[in-house]
């Protein structure tokens, strides 16, 4: 990477971007706070058409701190490379120093648009390490599915909103964020937080649904559907959108297989690969839904797939609501007291915390319960030695959690296979030979989230 790119980048090659090569050759233009017009004039005066441009890391259309290093000949991109690592926070390393339950609080912060998927992948992995997959209450599994599908809607709405904004479709953005707000309001009602929920825990959930939550979800679905249909009307047959998206960011099935691409990008090649169908978890095999595919291999197909997937997700949410209604109230945490978190969360006068009933029990009536609570909260539970790889279908593709236990109360190693990280490798294949403006569209169709890429 550095051999082809380093000349001409300038002295401040950042982390991981393939800098560190020889000193810059040729003319280096620095555009900090300047005007592109001046730079273009300077370049024109020198008679050079081929320039190397850093797009990002602080560029609004690179979805966070993604640095794209583009070699441009006129308007044509001849080489495109990614520099990542600007948001690396060592989450995986940190997880090795906290107990298994605390790990949820860390992994939820990786891909900040799909927090519940990281939690689900991690908790399903821990449950498999413990061998308690079958003991998780059905009510907890149904709520997990409902929350994940709502999360898929929220994530796809952001993908469409930011993607629309980048090509100038500002109404798509306002509609997308407006409808996402509805989902976030549901999340806040159910988990207490709009993101970084730490709601799914090994063995179940942090807390049961609050009163009225099912009605709130049921009431929100029609408005979200209306918003999705607004986006459809704005985008699907819009000639400007089609002119920008059709045939752009082309990546066929062979390319996807070689580069390990999953999710909507893979499904836009016509392959109906969805882990919810092929390797179901959380009881997905019992839900009635279809895998959405498209056959154009381009950014437009991915747009349509995301819109259709949101509708499918809302269908699944409705099935979850029916089931929750039928199951009725019940525990959302595994019955095994050696693993189950001792207290459920509750809203008190001073915010969210352990439920008062539980505090009253451990402080007032049962010393054994207090000891048990203390041991489980400070030490955590031990997980038998071994390793698992648990994958879930996140909105961006296969999200895998590789967890290794050495028999202790902390993860020995936790690695997340983030779909954005892998999918970003397709940038070169999608962008080279196209125009600079198409880079924006191609990257938006990959929908990378740097929090997940860099972890």
């Amino acid at each position: 990477m550095s051999e082809t790119i380093a000349p001409g980048i300038g002295p401040d090659a950042g982390p991981g971007g393939g800098g560190g090569g020889p000193a810059a050759e040729g003319n280096v233009f620095t555009a900090t706070g300047g005007d592109w017009g001046d730079i273009a004039e300077e370049a024109a005066a020198l008679g050079q058409e081929r320039i190397v441009v850093n797009m990002g890391p602080q560029h609004p259309s690179t979805h966070g701190v993604l640095r794209l290093i583009l070699e441009i000949d006129g308007e044509t991109v001849t080489e495109a490379r990614c520099g990542i690592g600007y948001l690396h926070t060592g989450i995986e390393k940190n997880m090795e120093f906290r107990n298994w339950t605390q790990g949820v609080t860390f992994c939820t912060r990786m891909d900040y648009l799909t927090p519940l998927y990281q939690e689900a992948a991690y908790c399903l992995g821990v449950e498999r390490l413990l061998g308690i997959t079958d003991e998780v209450p059905e009510r907890a599994s149904v709520i997990r599915v409902m929350m994940m599908e709502l999360n898929r809607v929220a994530s796809h709405l952001v993908a469409l909103a930011t993607g629309g904004m980048e090509i100038g479709a500002l109404t798509v953005m306002t509609v997308g964020f407006r409808e996402r707000e509805q989902v976030l309001r549901l999340f806040e009602l159910i988990t207490g937080l709009r993101m970084n929920h730490a709601y799914i825990r090994p063995g179940g959930l942090a807390q049961d649904l609050p009163p009225g939550a099912l009605d709130s979800v049921r009431d929100a679905i029609p408005t979200i559907r209306r918003g999705i249909s607004d986006i459809e009307k704005l985008a699907n047959e819009n000639p400007v959108v089609k002119a920008r998206l059709v045939g752009v960011g082309y990546l066929d099935l062979t390319g996807c297989m070689a580069l390990g691409i999953t999710g909507p990008v893979l499904r836009s090649t016509g392959l109906p690969h969805d882990l919810r169908k092929s390797q179901p978890y959380c009881g997905y095999e019992t839900y009635d839904f279809d895998v959405v595919t498209w056959d154009t291999c381009d950014a437009y197909g991915r747009l349509r797939i995301r819109i259709e997937e949101m509708k499918v997700s809302l269908d699944i949410v409705e099935q979850c609501l029916e089931r929750l209604q039928a199951i009725g109230p019940g525990s959302v945490m595994i019955a095994n007291k050696k693993i189950a978190w001792p207290a459920q969360l509750a809203i008190g006068a001073d915010g969210m915390g352990n439920s008062l009933d539980h505090i009253r029990e451990i402080m007032g009536t049962s010393m054994e319960a207090l000891i048990h609570h203390f041991k489980l909260v400070t030490e955590g539970f031990a997980v038998p030695a071994g390793q698992v790889y648990q994958a879930v279908e996140s909105p961006r593709g296969e999200l895998g959690a590789h967890l290794v236990s050495d028999g202790g109360t902390r993860p020995y190693r936790a690695h997340f296979r983030d779909p954005s990280f892998v999918n970003l490798q397709a940038v070169a294949a999608m962008c080279e030979g196209g125009q600079v403006a198409d880079v924006i569209v191609a990257v938006a169709s990959l929908d990378p989230v740097m929090g997940g890429v860099d972890r």
């Binding site: 990477m1 550095s2 051999e3 950042g14 982390p15 991981g16 971007g17 393939g18 800098g19 560190g20 090569g21 690592g85 690396h88 060592g90 995986e92 390393k93 940190n94 090795e96 120093f97 906290r98 498999r128 390490l129 061998g131 297989m257 070689a258 580069l259 390990g260 691409i261 999953t262 392959l271 690969h273 092929s278 390797q279 030490e379 955590g380 031990a382 030695a385 071994g386 390793q387 698992v388 790889y389 994958a391 296969e398 895998g400 590789h402 290794v404 050495d406 028999g407 202790g408 109360t409 902390r410 020995y412 190693r413 690695h415 296979r417 990280f421 892998v422 970003l424 490798q425 860099d454």
Partner: protein, 243 residues
């Protein structure tokens, strides 16, 4: 890094290197005592406790599920390619419904090629490569794990390749699975495993001039004590651990 990689790419990857065979069950840690109390202060008697922690032991046939079929087919495919299964694979571990082939590092590219190309195996996607550092696994401290997915047959297998800390070289599988490019770069970045033959083994997450490999067990987490309402909370890596 690119200069160094260029030199290494010319070498025969892992050829003729001494390889420590996989233990019966890989010992990952030996723990002594309990509650963190040592010496004369230990009135509990737990201080004399010695426990070895071992990963799941290698499995014997039948492995169950599709695992036997994968192993049989891989044996045949390797034989056709002029390799023996036992020569390439040190051990097969079946645990928690997952199959792990412990592959000798010099054969990882051959095994990957057969797993990808054989129509009855067809692991067309390498979803993830990551590392694990086992400082107690003498002579095999660094492990690289390859998670392979066959969409055709809806199967998964894991390859585990180990190398000693003193000679952290594993052949790159980028020529078989181009997607391993960034994964191997990340594993190099975090564990210091050199993937011979990788086209540009540069750091990917940490800055280019970063010293050390942060995910190794001997690399400190870092952190500062935090004072809160008069009490001081130590950084997480020096807090008491109960493992």
């Amino acid at each position: 890094m690119s200069d160094q990689t260029g030199e290494q790419a010319g070498e025969q990857p892992g050829g003729g290197l001494p390889v420590t065979p996989a233990a019966e069950a890989q010992i990952v840690d030996v723990r002594t005592g309990m509650f963190g109390v040592r010496g004369p202060g230990d009135t509990s008697g737990y201080g004399g406790l010695v426990r070895t922690v071992a990963m799941p032991a290698p499995a014997t046939r039948p492995f169950g599920g599709y695992f036997d079929e994968v192993a049989d087919r891989l044996t045949t495919a390797l034989a056709v390619a002029g390799r023996s299964f036992d020569g390439c694979v040190e051990a097969v571990v079946v645990d928690r419904d997952e199959m792990t082939f412990h592959v000798r590092r010099e054969h990882v590219v051959d095994v990957c090629r057969q797993l990808r190309d054989d129509p009855d195996l067809r692991f067309e996607m390498c979803v993830s490569v990551s590392g694990v550092h086992y400082p107690h696994d003498a002579g095999r401290e660094l492990h690289a794990l390859y998670h392979l997915l066959s969409i055709t047959h809806n199967r998964r297998v894991r390859l585990e390749v180990s190398c000693p800390d003193a000679d952290p070289h594993i052949p790159s599988v980028v020529e078989i699975y181009p997607t391993a490019d960034w994964h191997e770069r990340e594993t190099w970045d975090f564990f210091g495993i050199v993937f011979d033959g990788h086209p540009a083994l540069a750091r990917i997450q940490m800055p280019d001039d970063w010293p050390g490999h942060p995910q190794r067990k001997d690399y400190p987490l870092g952190g500062i004590p935090v004072e809160y309402k008069g009490a001081t909370i130590p950084p997480p890596d020096v807090r008491r651990a109960y493992t």
